[in-house]
């Protein structure tokens, strides 16, 4: 290359070409894209972003990002700037990806999936770039899917309730005498409808969990009362299997907690039911509750068959069932612990376990006391 070719004119030409290339790239991105400078002023906005938000380029360029791009929550309340992804990206120096709702120029609410990164030159932030995608259609499909499952579950449950009610009436002799063989058959029918009901509930909950539509509804509750209710519900099942349940929730001093009682109950019922199912006759199950200033921990311990060591890392996977269990208990779906893990996550808690084959399993669920949550 000659001196003339590598001189200032050539460098300028290269810069112009690179700028044109960047401009074309930015303009042609199929998702909305916005860049801001170090003062939060909008420096670029591509056509897709303008289309989603309903603003013209003139209205946006030079405008202060928080004024122009309004993010709101589910209740259409403006999200505090310090909690918005762009601020988080500057607070952490990392790319932040989140779901968010934007309010357009005409006031329409548009759900978006966005990703925002600081623009760094020599490790110094000079602004940010945000790329976002309108997910209105996906949200609508999700909503329709949930509605369909909810409707289908309801439609399945209604005939099941009739089958169960009439089976109970038959077995109790409301429609004439039934002999022992007939009673046995009716009990099988009732057992099957119960299992079908459980399966529908589990599927419904998993659908909600996977579509992110599980709503956490916080209430101030007494943990001891909730545990008593759980055990009361499971006494019949435990008796049928000659399993002794020890309620040790009164062993330690417990304060009230602020959590979602329905989700917590679902978690404990699932763990206790697993304990009952996977413990041999005359075995024991216990439920202990301990509380610290920050958390409350529930421990469900059984004297069952335990979880083989080589599969312990898979037990929260969907449809997973350990081989030692499949041989003994054929009716499980492998969805219970997957659901429990999802529900514990929804409550911002954690779950872990200790297990030794033939010596039983202890499941621990720790959730925040939630005193500062509203």
């Amino acid at each position: 290359m000659s001196d003339a070719q590598s001189g200032p004119d050539n460098t300028n030409q290269l810069i112009v070409e690179k700028q044109a290339e960047m401009e074309a790239l930015f303009t042609s991105i199929g998702d909305g894209a916005i860049t801001t400078d170090e003062f939060g002023k909008i420096t670029r906005i591509n056509p897709k972003a303008r289309q989603i938000l309903g603003f013209s380029e003139k209205e946006m360029i030079g405008g202060w990002f928080p004024n122009k791009i309004v993010a709101v929550n589910d209740q259409d309340k403006i999200i505090n700037m310090i909690d918005r992804p762009i601020t988080k990206a500057f607070l952490t120096g990392k790319t932040i990806s989140e779901k968010c709702i934007y309010r357009t120029k005409k006031g329409k609410l548009v759900p978006v999936n966005l990703s925002v990164s600081p623009i760094l030159v020599d490790s110094k932030p000079l602004g940010a770039i945000q790329v976002f995608r309108d997910i209105t259609l996906e949200e609508e499909v999700d909503r329709m899917k949930s509605e369909f499952i909810s409707l289908a579950s309801h439609q399945l449950r209604t005939p099941l309730s009739s089958i169960k009610t009439y089976s109970h009436m038959l077995i109790e002799g409301y429609m004439g005498d039934v002999n022992k063989d007939q009673q046995k058959s009716l009990r099988t029918i009732i057992g099957a409808t119960n299992r079908m009901n459980e399966l529908i509930s589990t599927l419904l909950n998993i659908t909600r969990m996977e579509s992110g539509t599980i709503r956490v509804s916080l209430k101030t509750i007494n943990a001891k009362t909730l545990v008593d209710e759980v055990i009361e519900e499971l006494n019949l099942l435990a008796n049928e299997r000659s399993i002794e349940i020890n309620n040790l929730s009164g062993k330690y001093q417990l304060d009230v907690i602020r959590t979602d009682p329905l989700l917590l109950k679902e978690i404990l019922i699932n763990l206790m039911t697993n304990g009952i199912k996977y413990t041999p006759e005359n075995g024991k199950i216990s439920l202990t509750v301990k509380q610290t200033t920050e958390h409350i921990t529930f421990c469900v311990a059984d004297s069952g068959w335990g979880i083989p060591e080589d599969v312990q890392n898979q037990i929260f996977s969907k449809f997973f069932r350990a081989k030692n269990i499949v041989k003994r208990e054929t009716t499980g779906t492998g969805l219970g612990l997957y659901l429990v893990k999802g529900l514990v996550d929804a409550l911002e808690g954690r779950i872990w376990f200790k297990s030794k084959p033939k010596h039983g399993t202890k499941f621990y669920v720790e959730i925040p006391n939630g005193k500062n949550q509203h």
Partner: protein
């Protein structure tokens, strides 16, 4: 620099920041220090503050529209970061 003077530096940063961010000051600064420096606030040094100021500037620019106020705040932090500790003769 010992931990006491580091904590004092953080207190000074917080005092300045309080004027601009009010009750959000502590949360804002703690997050900056923990995320960018991987340190606790009471471990902040003048050298850290110099490197942190660029991040503080872009973050606070999203919390207030007036770039004059941002500049004023950043100038105060720069003065604090570059202030020489008096030495005993």
């Amino acid at each position: 620099m010992n931990s006491q003077s580091n904590a004092m530096l953080y207190d000074k940063v917080l005092k300045i920041t309080n004027v601009y961010l009010g009750p959000a000051a502590d949360r804002f600064m703690s997050r900056q220090i923990q995320n960018h420096l991987n340190k606790e606030p009471n471990e902040l040094t003048e050298k850290d503050l110099v490197s942190l100021i660029v991040w503080i500037k872009v973050s606070v620019s999203l919390l207030t529209e007036d770039s004059g106020i941002v500049d004023e705040y950043i100038t105060k932090l720069n003065e604090l970061a570059n202030a020489k500790t008096p030495t005993k003769s």
